[in-house]
Symmetry: C2
Subunit: 332 residues, 2 copies
């Protein structure tokens, strides 16, 4: 993996977006007046929770599969994922006729496991959590790849996947243009960093000099934020625990960090209480069901309203795949 990956130009990123369009949905960019009033600015929500499979990950997973050789397609694919990449990959594999094998942590949300299975993927549940639940699952996936000759896909640390995820930002840039709106802050929920890296391919300072991207992470899992501050890839400590099951990578991906480092991205950690506030806010004001990882950008604004005062902010709400019992506990 090169330290400084070559970043596709805007024309290429638009072509990548177009190549997915047969299968993906255009998700709405929804004005959020209530949050705008709170920060005395403008706020829009990019509702990727309404993407096919309930999360933005479908876009990158689909594009990654489209780039496999015919031989790789016929041998099948294996990946580990805490959930949304698994579900997206399973749905994309079903559409394209590619066998998908998944290793998922045993404590992944039930709806994510069941939905991945409903798309015909073969699923192994991983009971290990050392050194972390992600890394234990990654090891099992690598073993399966070696044993069976499957192509091993990484859920975030992969330049092709990242370019596929940039589709969210390409679509957003077109929607902003149609509305005649700028974007001062773009908030990207960040685990390993495929969304923030893909977004920074589009909204970097040479294309959009007025836009600053902020990687939004759960407190204790702010590996990207720490790495940006230090100037090298480092690791969060994973404490306290977080309900953001999709954002539990302790460290950003190599490719992801290299791409982000080239842009003027900053990071922001959000406390659990504000993640839950974000979920409740979306229910009350947007009528959207969000999972914790999807609501964290709203939580960031609710925790730091002064930071966004007088500006136009776009919050990517990245997913809505939450088990109903858990959801009821939060909004009740």
């Amino acid at each position: 993996m090169p330290t400084h990956p070559s970043i596709p130009d805007l024309k290429t990123l638009k072509d990548i977006y177009q190549s997915q369009q047969t299968y993906t949905r255009v998700t709405p960019l929804i004005p959020c007046d209530e949050l705008g009033e709170k920060v005395q600015g403008k706020v829009f929500v990019k509702a990727e929770s309404l993407q096919k499979t309930g999360a933005f990950k479908f876009r990158g997973a689909l594009y990654r599969l489209l780039q496999l050789s015919e031989q790789e397609k016929s041998r099948g694919v294996v990946a580990y994922s805490s959930g949304n990449f698994a579900r997206g990959l399973a749905a994309a594999g079903e559409i394209l006729g590619i066998d998908i094998h998944l290793v998922m942590p045993v404590d992944a949300p039930k709806n994510k496991i069941e939905n991945a299975r409903s798309h015909g993927a073969e699923i192994k549940l991983c009971h290990d959590s050392e050194p972390s639940r992600e890394e234990a699952a990654a090891t099992q996936a690598a073993q399966l790849a070696q044993q069976h000759g499957y192509s091993l896909l990484h859920p975030f640390d992969d330049e092709i996947l990242i370019a596929g995820q940039s589709a969210v930002a390409v679509e957003l840039s077109e929607q902003l243009e149609q509305l005649g709106e700028t974007c001062h802050y773009l908030l990207c929920p960040t685990g390993g960093g495929s969304l923030v890296a893909g977004s920074s391919m589009v909204f970097n300072t040479s294309h959009y000099p007025d836009t600053r991207i902020i990687a939004i992470e759960p407190s204790g899992f702010d590996g990207m934020t720490l790495s940006i501050k230090e100037g090298y890839r480092t690791r969060a400590n994973g404490r306290p625990t977080s309900s953001c099951d999709a954002l539990q990578a302790l460290s950003p991906g190599k490719a992801n960090f290299a791409i982000v480092e080239d842009s003027e991205v900053t990071g922001l950690a959000v406390d659990e209480a504000f993640v839950n506030e974000g979920i409740r806010f979306a229910a009350q004001n947007l009528k959207l069901i969000l999972e914790p990882s999807g609501a964290i950008g709203l939580g960031a604004m609710l925790q730091n309203p002064e930071k966004f005062r007088g500006k136009t902010t776009v919050v990517i709400v990245s997913g809505g795949n939450i088990d109903i019992e858990k959801y009821v506990d939060i909004i009740h």
Copy 2:
């Protein structure tokens, strides 16, 4: 009110839609694969729950206010409404600088009352429920109009308002065209009938010969369904009770029925249990929070899957304004 109102042509309806566009949102048309599989057909959901104010009523309310004379605008407006028209009218009045006075039943959902008030409307709660909660509130609104010289607006029985509500169908027709999709059945939640009448202005048999509109009503409140069968305006008996607070008109509006009667609209009543199923289905599969009146079209498909077999069906989910406690009770 004429028995056979003049129906604007498509060009005029498109102009009406355009005239609202500065203020209204384009709501997404979302494919619903899970329901499509269930009926072995195609299903799309037109998510008006994501419209400004959380319901389609904003479109008609805004257009109705835009059509007032300057003198009428300066005197202010009074209306009765169980909630979504109230909230839509309050928001539209705030935007256009028109004083809005509302009479709402005391048992209207709290979120609808509070949100209407937050847009600066003056609200009187009506405690009467004889002969029905709607009719008692209507009488109070008429008295206020007479006392204070306000323009009295009807929440559904008004040709201008209905033409304003047709914007949902105009937007839908453009989205279907973009997708290259037809629509065999269009399901419209129906109370007094402004959505179904507005939709039948667009999707009538001369413009869209392949489309049949179905007015969806709660069992016991199926005044439009009964009126269509009888061939004249008649009244449902209001039993059993229904949680669909926005669909409690016992009889369709005069103008609404006259417009619907000219098209080949049919009606379908949905039982309370399936309304709740619709709400749960939307939470699980669409990640949308719907109020009972908004989910009734999904309930209709879940109650009668065989009716939609092999066809392309569009379900308008008309609103999402439900009190959170009530929502939790249903999805729990």
